[in-house]
Symmetry: C2
Subunit: 218 residues, 2 copies
Amino acid sequence: MVATSTTSARLSVRQRGNSRPPATRFDKRLGQILAHATDVFCKKGYEGASMRDLSRASGMSLAGLYYYFQSKERLLFLIQKHTFTTIVERLKVRLEGVNDAEQRIRIFILNHLEYFLSNQAAMKVLSHEDDALKNGFALEVAAIKREYYRICVGLLDELKRERGLQFSTRIAVLSLFGMMNWIYTWHNPRVDADADELARQMSEMFLRGVMNGARTRR
Amino acid sequence: MVATSTTSARLSVRQRGNSRPPATRFDKRLGQILAHATDVFCKKGYEGASMRDLSRASGMSLAGLYYYFQSKERLLFLIQKHTFTTIVERLKVRLEGVNDAEQRIRIFILNHLEYFLSNQAAMKVLSHEDDALKNGFALEVAAIKREYYRICVGLLDELKRERGLQFSTRIAVLSLFGMMNWIYTWHNPRVDADADELARQMSEMFLRGVMNGARTRR
DNA sequence: ACTGAGTTCGAACGAACGTTCGAATGAGTC
DNA sequence: GACTCATTCGAACGTTCGTTCGAACTCAGT
């Protein structure tokens, strides 16, 4: 019944080509709910968080939430898709016009860590709940993830070709992701360095690890 | 009532000093249940797995399970504690008699990856559900984790002193854990190398990353 | 003041959750 | 066979889960 109605929830889908939708009241409120839901998912996990938790956190009634999305699973999907899309978009902008392979990898790492640390909750939900979705939802998120992965593979292959290096790109990329994504389990802003400094240290370590004796240049 | 009874569930606690308890029928059965539960937790997550799932997987009735442990949370605790204790024990044995700092780090990595890959389910539960426990349970697991972490810090500090290196031990250790623990998200036994080969590649990469220009020796 | 679409909510739905209890089995000793 | 523990189970407990429904509210345009 509701699924076939003309309720405005269905209008939240972005139009093709419109990179900036006309932030309506609906979209704004949805954004707030997504933000609160992200915090709750981060603290209690997707399965551990109840719709009543989300209701309490966002200050909206339980039933009211369902005006903005069709199901709890779809809510997680919206969060993951938005977060992942944003990080890929930012990366592409930052990579434009930079040609040196090593520098491009440094940018990749900095972009990832910067976004990770300023959106820790969202990124934890992204890293931690990556197999909580099913079927269609899972496929769509997996597609964005694969694109992001492929970009990184491309950067490393550039470096290999440019410097004539030999190593397993797959293991290098996945190790790099491991280093970066693990951060949500330990980073404490009062003790640990900020994104710039962390990115510098991890880049240094990773690049040295991947280059056979060749000096890294900064 | 049950908590104060003389039910044999209370006898499963190890006696002090007995490193090998007298594998009774009870302990055997408990072990089987833990193994099945580990698989289920791995597939569906701790919160996502229901006691009825565990019942189905272990072939024992719902009520029957409670003869072997007091609660679902305690079950997760038993799994985590056993897994973590085992990996630390094995590491200590392997490190005995090896004095070279670099070689000790290679052993650490190999031990971790070997155990990780041959007990993937258990290690995923350990990595993924590390904040699912509360209060007392969480503290006890955290204590073992801290010991394991400190061992690794010690190994890296040895290396730094022996070679006169300079880097942040904390970031190096946590990056190494990230590389290694991330494996559960990607390792495919039909495509990827085995533990020996992976450990060799990761050790090579990590050690080169941490040593300033100094050659690694194998 | 009235309309109509957009937004919110209280109350309830059936299902699934973790856990308990008392009775029924099983195995080993007299 | 009878006694004793250890083990297992069906059936139910009260609670919480995700979701739905219809009624109410808000507010811009008349």
